[in-house]
């Protein structure tokens, strides 16, 4: 794999089914009702249950490490949150290498759903 500034990562598509939203919330020990209880989410003004932040961090890490390989070392995951990702939406991650110094690479990542950009950020990773 040749990695240089501008290298695009293969996109990753996540179907944010209710099972996905709930199981990731619980696996990240986030028990806030808006992530598993649709009635509560709607009562608080949301359309449905939605993904939690710890899951976004996990997904961004997964997206980059699936591209970089299992022995790449993730140094940081910095994300900025945009529109919600509600249950039944589809989240598509794209990314590109923005800089490379030796084996240290900075990747910019964007996760977009039907409402717009759900998450954007950068990941620092050391390639094996």
């Amino acid at each position: 794999m040749t990695v240089a500034e501008g290298t695009e990562l293969p996109p990753l598509t996540i179907e944010a089914t209710p099972t996905f939203v709930v199981s990731t919330a619980l696996a990240t020990r986030d028990f806030q009702d808006v992530h598993h209880d649709r009635d509560s989410a709607v009562a608080r003004g949301s359309k449905d249950i939605f993904l939690n932040i710890l899951t976004d961090t996990g997904l961004v890490q997964r997206f980059v490490s699936e591209w970089a390989g299992p022995e790449a070392l993730i140094r940081s995951v910095k994300i900025r949150l945009g529109v919600p990702c509600y249950a039944y939406d589809t989240l598509t991650f794209t990314g590109r290498v923005v800089s490379r110094t030796g084996n240290d690479v900075v990747v910019s990542v964007s996760g977009v759903d039907s409402l717009g950009e759900h998450v954007a950020g950068t990941v620092e990773v050391t390639l094996p």
Binding site: T28, T55, L59, S65, S76, V77, L81
Partner: protein, 302 residues
């Protein structure tokens, strides 16, 4: 104390006491996490692969750093948690809603099963008030450090927007809506534009508008004139009962003879029932209900 002063006082308290995770880093929670997230990296789950890898043994996903110290289903914030203290200050000031905007995690090294992390948090900055799409609010930034013993293993800068949601618009007053047909559409269109339109068949004005001229001719086509809006009360009733949606009782309904010679019925808005009398001069008024409907009304010509 201002919000800035409260923030300075909380920041001056420094870092909260380290809070130990409920459980040490363990395979069960890692397995749940990788299954849910869909991360198939074998360094987290396959002991043989992990032993032969750069890690020389199983490691936990770095993005789980925060997971280990989450409060859990029945958890509460620590008393010295600076984020909780700052949220309380902003709640008190009316900034009652919260949304996370940034999470920036840095991993100094991967954690291994059996290690027991603790988290400590300090308040970094409180910036505001800022106008945002969600409402006026303050950006509150904290820094959390995860440690094993005295060794810092991960850090997170976490920013939330604590905002005052805009007051919800009052629901539109319920109102009885007219049935609008092709014969009467011009009348309602006119009201929306501030015109009191009267149907005209040749030389003859007719109100209420209808599909046929007064003489029953099938050949004439209608158009309309715009009334001056000036007239006098020809007859009226004071409505006391029953209740009418969107109306305060009592109210006056007046049949007004326009100077064009036709009579139009509508509510008389600004007159006490006892001051209304036949012959009272009035002018047309227009009551906008919403984008689709404007109702005719009268006001006393004063």
């Amino acid at each position: 104390m201002t919000i800035e002063e409260a923030a300075a006082a909380i920041a001056a308290q420094g870092e909260s006491a380290p809070r130990l995770a409920r459980d040490p880093v363990n395979q069960a929670m890692v397995n749940n996490w990788v299954e849910a997230i869909g991360d198939r990296n074998p360094v987290y789950t396959d002991p043989e692969y992990a032993a032969a890898s750069v890690h020389k043994g199983l490691v936990a996903p770095p993005a789980m750093a925060q997971v280990w110290t989450m409060n859990g289903l029945h958890g509460t914030r620590a008393d010295d948690d600076p984020l909780g203290a700052m949220m309380a200050v902003l709640d008190e000031a009316g900034f009652t809603s919260v949304v996370a905007t940034n999470s920036e995690q840095t991993y100094h090294r991967y954690l291994r099963p059996g290690e027991h992390v603790a988290a400590a948090t300090r308040l970094e900055t409180v910036v505001g008030p800022k106008r945002t799409a969600l409402g006026e609010g303050w950006f509150v930034t904290t820094r959390t450090t995860w440690s094993v013993g005295s060794e810092a293993v991960a850090e997170m800068v976490f920013r939330v927007l604590k905002f005052r949601p805009p007051a919800p618009k009052p629901p539109p007053a319920p109102v009885l809506r007219p049935v609008i047909s092709r014969d009467t559409e011009f009348f309602w269109d006119g009201l929306r534009e501030g015109e009191l339109r009267i149907q005209r068949w040749g030389e003859t004005l007719r109100h209420p508008p209808g599909p046929m001229p007064p003489d029953g001719s099938l050949d004439t086509k209608p158009d309309y004139v715009v009334a001056s809006g000036r007239g006098t009360v020809y007859s009226f009733v004071v409505h006391h009962h029953p209740p009418v949606p969107g109306k305060e009782l009592p109210f006056v309904v007046a049949l007004v003879e326009l100077e064009e010679g036709v009579r139009v019925m509508a509510e008389l808005l600004d007159a006490a029932p006892e001051e209304v009398h036949i012959g009272l001069p009035v002018v047309a008024a227009f009551v906008r209900v919403d984008d689709d409907l404007t109702l005719p009304a009268w006001k006393v010509a004063r």
